[in-house]
């Protein structure tokens, strides 16, 4: 590729996950000349997620996505479990409203979903090349003028480069746009997909052919590390996984490997019967941004913008990631379209509109609301060990009928809480939780 015929695009999008596809789709739809570069064999072959799709974010991009998108099950029941070694206390929310279209949340399988979304992006007119890894941004001073790929003649140029390259955010890091991510700001999650006949899933979770259940769990199964487990129902498979703060994995005295933790979750008496007989067909691992508001870097500059996980846009408290990714992708695209329309240069001043749009959308508002959550959870592992055990034992005391009078039982339960955390601890914990959720 000699310099005279150097390839120039209105925009280059690096990565074909939810944020990259949303950005590329929106810009291509508006007639921009877009090049999308994906390092996987096809869009989806490098992407991992627990995998829940939030309909509202996608509706604003492809309103009729339900017609042909590969969706596994719409979620009708949400379960939150607190696990002890041998038991769990669970709260279940199930509503008939969730079983009426248009459904709000779906479980998806990312390899198929991203491939579908990418086909839409190509239909919209964007050009996609796969199996190509972008090695670094081409910078002219502090202005980004294009990217260099790992292929001969791999320099491609554009007015703006949208970085949707995932949680490791390699390109921005290499260009010095932000520092290395900290182990405190990411969780390492591992998961497996277990295949079993649909009827078995429907019987075990009491759901119909299209409806599904989601279980989030926390407790002693994460060995005191700050983290949660999850079990999602797909059409003919279950996803079982567990993730903990990477810093906790590193400093865990028992030096437990993630796959050992996952086996322990799978063996838990509350989980084992649900996944019995499943045929494991894939084992994945991924980092998830957990730093929240304070971990979001500078997300725009002269000729570049950052969207999705690459910018740490994940609301860990509510386990929401894909909707933030799609929304940030769309907002970045709309900023570029507006600037292109007004003939403005893609400098920092113009692209600041992207940050403004983020600030007044739910994205930054939610992240700001939970800005202290990571710090609170970090400093109080008791929410993941002591309280789950206390609650389980309290339930056992409360529900075992053994002739002991209820007053004594009550005193025993309260006593167990007090002895575990003493009054000051209990009040402190309550206050800290209240402030983190305020």
């Amino acid at each position: 590729m000699n310099l005279t015929t150097r390839e120039k695009f209105d925009a280059i999008v690096v990565g074909a996950g939810p944020s990259g596809n949303s950005a590329a789709f929106t810009m291509a739809k508006a007639g921009l000349k877009v090049l999308q570069i994906e390092r996987g064999e096809y869009p989806g072959s490098k992407n991992v997620q627990g995998a829940i799709l939030y309909a509202d974010a996608l509706e604003r991009i492809i309103p009729d996505f339900r017609d042909d998108a590969p969706l596994e099950r719409h979620i009708v029941e949400q379960r939150i479990w607190m696990l002890d070694d041998k038991s769990f206390v669970g709260t279940h929310y199930r509503s008939d409203d969730c079983d009426k279209p248009p459904y709000n949340r779906y479980t998806i399988i990312r390899a198929q979903f991203d491939k579908w979304f990418s086909a839409k992006v190509r239909e919209a007119g964007a050009m996609l090349i796969c199996e190509t890894t972008v090695e670094e941004l081409l910078m002219d001073g502090d202005r980004c003028i294009g990217v260099r790929c790992d292929r001969k003649g791999g320099e491609v140029y554009a007015d703006v480069v949208v970085l949707a390259d995932g949680v490791n955010s390699t390109l921005a890091r290499k260009a010095g746009l932000h520092g290395e991510i900290s182990a405190k700001n990411v969780a390492l999650a591992v998961k497996e997909i277990l295949f079993m006949p649909e009827e078995v899933i429907q019987q075990r979770f009491n759901v119909g052919e299209e409806s599904g259940v989601v279980i989030e769990m926390m407790g002693t199964v994460t060995e005191g590390m700050v983290g949660t487990g999850f079990l999602y129902t797909n059409k003919e498979s279950l996803t079982i996984g567990v993730g903990c703060m990477l810093s906790d994995f590193k400093s865990n005295p028992r030096r437990t490997a993630p796959y050992t933790l996952l086996e322990n979750v799978k063996k838990h008496p509350g989980i084992a019967p649900l996944i019995a007989g499943g045929e494991m067909k894939e084992y994945c691992a991924h980092l998830i941004p957990e730093g929240g508001f304070h971990a979001v870097p500078k997300v725009y500059g002269h000729g570049w913008m950052i969207v999705g996980d690459s910018g740490g846009f994940v609301n860990a408290a509510h386990r929401e990631g894909s909707n933030l990714a799609m929304t940030t992708g769309r907002l970045a695209a709309e900023t570029v379209i507006a600037a292109k329309g007004a003939g403005k240069p893609m400098n920092a001043k113009t692209l600041a509109a992207y940050k403004a749009a983020l600030d007044d959308s739910f994205v930054m508002k939610d992240l700001h609301k939970y800005r202290d959550m990571p710090q609170v959870l970090h400093s109080s592992p008791q929410f993941f060990t002591t309280y789950p055990s206390l609650v389980n034992r309290a339930a056992q005391t409360f529900f075992t009928v053994d002739g002991v009078d209820k007053k004594t039982k009550e005193k025993k339960i309260l006593g167990s809480f007090r002895s575990a955390r003493r009054l000051g601890g209990l009040v402190g914990d309550a206050f800290r939780m209240w402030r983190a959720f305020r």
Binding site: R39, T133, E192, M280
Partner: protein
């Protein structure tokens, strides 16, 4: 918690679809001496979800990148020594998730 039975991660990794870039490992340990002499915890040997880092008898750490899930944990947790040269594999190589 039940005694942590030794979990055979090889059985799990066998299920994955992987395209090895022979002769071009995408991650390298910059200086093996640093692992052997200066790093006490060698946490990469148990945090890596694909168990690519193995603690050998003589305190050295060996790295085989086949089966790597490209999560980036090893780079992030090597905070004190920054001893991991971490890159994505060449386009189309490495892990190829069938489901993800």
């Amino acid at each position: 918690m039940s005694a942590a039975a030794i979990v055979n991660v090889e059985e799990k990794l066998f299920q994955n679809r992987y395209k090895v870039d022979h002769g071009r490992p995408h991650i390298r340990i910059k200086d093996a001496a640093v692992c052997a002499n200066q790093c006490k915890e060698q946490s990469c040997t148990f945090v890596c979800p694909a168990s690519c880092y193995k603690a050998e008898g003589n305190r050295s750490v060996t790295l085989i990148t086949d089966g790597c899930l490209e999560c980036g944990s090893c780079r992030v947790i090597c905070t004190e020594h920054r001893n991991v040269a971490w890159e994505y594999p060449r386009g189309g190589y490495g892990i190829l998730f069938k489901f993800g």
